[in-house]
Amino acid sequence: MIRLENVTKSYSTEVVALRDASFDIAKGEFVFLVGPSGSGKSTMLRLLNREERPERGAVWVAGRNIIDMPPSRVPHLRRNIGNIFQDYKLLSNKTVFENVAFAQEVIGKPKHVIRQQVPAVLDLVGLAGKEDRFPHQLSGGEQQRVSVARAFVNRPLILIADEPTGNLDPTTGEGIMRLLDRINKTGTTVVMATHDQRIVNTMRKRVIQLDRGVIVRDQARGVYE
């Protein structure tokens, strides 16, 4: 599903975010990216979205090298990738329903499909009955659930999560992880950057560890070290 081949990305001559990184992620895998701040986790996620392009190497997503992809095709790539952020990135002037529906609306899904799929995904993330609330009327955990619903509503092949539990208390964070695990079990590949040692150690999924842009460990059913 995802393959990085000798990828190097730098922001200046002094700052090398990723150095000669290579790995394969199969369809349906759940992978943690771990490492200290500035180790290159977020850069790696941005490369998968084609928000960044590397100086060297190849990034394969769903069978295509996205480095050579023309800009006009990038939106189509992104329709196969769901994104979850630490700060949720919800639209404060839209309700829960509208925030999730927005992801379908902007790619041209018909209204009747939106009316059918949005309640279903809100039910999946445990927000049934809160469709008309605005983000400021929700707790942090609930806001992150909206973010997960928005990322998953288009049934993407890959789900990218950048520190999704970073702003949440441990119990709420665990709830979000259970949700991501459920989504993963539907066949969606999940790649998650995190600092949360407890979550990584509890879930026992594959762990790719980065240190100053270099992959120093790639371990199946790994733990946070």
Binding site: R79, K89, F102, V106, P110
Partner: protein
Amino acid sequence: MFSRFTYTLRETFAGFKRNITLTAAAIITSAISLLIFGLTLLIQEGFDNLLQRWEGGVEMIVFVNAGTQPDGLEFIQSTLNEQVSVGTVASFEYCDVVCSLADADRVLAGDPTTRKLLNETNIPTLFKIVPAESTEVAFLRGLKESYQQLPSVHSVTLAEEQLDLISRLQGFVSTYTTGLWIALMLASGLLIWNTIRTAMFARRREIEVMKLVGATDWFIRIPFMLEGLIQGLLGAIGAVGIMQFVNWRWTQGVRDFPDSSGMTALVVVDGYQWTVAIYILLFGALVGMIGSGIAASRFLDV
């Protein structure tokens, strides 16, 4: 398709509401600049109408009494031919009744009451005279005096009496109004550009989310471009309304000018103001769309 269309319309009008003061400023500036653009075209058309009878190097017009018999016309023609043979007049042209009525249509366009009084039986016909290049103005003045004594001649007019002043006035007005509308058009384009930039900045989080969920750049751009286009069009509609009012008031006012002022022809004829109205609408829409399109493309990575 329909949901995209409704989304585009909804976002366009949301943009209007969000930016109401900047939008109003952009529309007012567009309206003023397009109004000056339209008035410049109308003024130029009015001057062209005023000066049309002097086109082709004509510097003297001999008006012949209405109902003059052919032998009277031949006498004037032979007198003019004498000047051609000595080289003081390069050429002359006779404007018969039909031609003179058409000329009156233009000259008296602002004074329909007087025009109605003229018909085939009472309109003076005319000779348009093009002097040789070497002929001096003083000689033409002398010629005017002598032609006025000829039988059947109603009056003689020299171009210098009208043309110089009007030409200078036309040059002055055209230069300054053209400069003014270009500057104002640039200002309204920049204002629309800035309105769209502000709108995009206000919606930067939305745009970020849209891009991440796979919206195309055109999908994001179109509501902003539509917003700019509508701003330009609203300005243009305002400008057309004011221009038509000003033109109507001017045309009414010109009727009160004395015939001797020579200004009764300084009006727009043949519905030209409607052609200008179409130019204004097209130009307003174009400036709005280009200004917003550039801003939307430039600031898409907010």
